[in-house]
């Protein structure tokens, strides 16, 4: 059950590279030079990624049963490529952590707390919003909560 197939890893790698390059491009476009300032690039990247992830998860879930019959390879690789790969690579927790530490360390503890709390609350809300929008667009998905979450 815990086997990892090579084509799944390849799909995650390809998606991860695409997501990471997009994240890096945003961080270069919106530089974060002052450590006490609000880290807009990571903040917006994570929130955008959460919203798109919600839509993508719902789309993949809603199509999974059909794909299993018609496109077994797509059924196996869509989630690793898009969810774990592209959006997993696009969003980041490590930069979020060190930015919160940096803000607090250089005297903006209130900002650090605000950044952490708003990222988490808005991130979860945007995944939910993406899911709801996905359901409206692609039809109700069998929301498989017992399944493995690999993002």
């Amino acid at each position: 059950m815990s086997t990892v197939r090579r084509d799944e890893l390849a799909a995650v790698a390809v998606g991860g590279v695409v997501g990471a390059l997009a994240r890096a491009w945003i961080s270069l476009t919106v530089p974060h030079a002052d450590p006490v300032a609000w880290p807009w690039a990571t903040f917006l990247t994570n929130l955008l990624g959460c919203f798109v992830l919600g839509v993508v998860l719902d789309w993949v879930d809603s199509r999974h049963a059909d794909w299993l019959v018609l496109h077994p390879r797509r059924a196996r690789l869509a989630r690793p490529l898009l969810a774990s790969g592209v959006l997993g690579g696009f969003t980041t927790f490590s930069t979020f952590s060190v930015e919160a530490v940096g803000m607090a360390r250089w005297g903006n503890a209130t900002g650090a707390l605000g950044y952490a709390v708003s990222s988490v609350v808005l991130g979860v809300a945007l995944v939910a919003l993406g899911r709801v929008l996905g359901s409206a667009l692609f039809g109700p998905a069998p929301y498989d909560l017992e399944g493995d979450e690999e993002l």
């Binding site: 590279v17 890096a24 997993g88 980041t92 490590s94 979020f96 919160a100 991130g123 979860v124 993002l151």
Partner: protein, 131 residues
């Protein structure tokens, strides 16, 4: 050059996250917790080392920090899991589901921020920088 370094780091970090999540798959998202913790610690140490050496940027930061750690960790997956706790269709009462979601949400942030801070300060202390 920057793009190549980011891509190389991500090509290792993202599949490693997937493999760890699959290996540690259970009712609790330990896999994601573990990779987020590990990536935050490595990035904290890396920034501490650079700080101690008086450098603000380096190709290592692009490869390991932006590429590898950025892709080893995930915020989207974490947020989706918090939502899964809330939306769990089990016989769990609503208050317990919200509590589980809040515990996972808060524990991840506190633990990752803590290891990032310890990693940063530890590297600075060991290498004798100004902090």
């Amino acid at each position: 050059m920057t793009a190549l370094l980011v891509a190389l780091g991500a090509a290792v970090g993202a599949p490693l996250r997937f493999a760890v999540e699959r290996r540690l798959a259970s009712a609790y998202p330990w896999g994601t917790f573990a990779v987020n913790l590990t990536g935050s610690a490595i990035l904290g140490v890396l920034l501490g080392v650079l700080r101690a050496q008086g450098e603000s940027t380096s190709w290592v930061l692009t490869l390991v920090g932006v590429g590898f750690c950025g892709s080893l960790t995930t915020f989207g997956g974490y947020a989706a899991q918090v939502l899964d706790f809330v939306a769990a269709p089990r016989a769990t009462p609503g208050s317990a589901r919200v509590r589980h979601a809040a515990e996972y949400a808060v524990a991840s942030v506190l633990a990752c921020v803590a290891v990032a801070l310890v990693g940063y300060l530890g590297a600075v202390a060991l290498l004798g920088g100004a902090g």
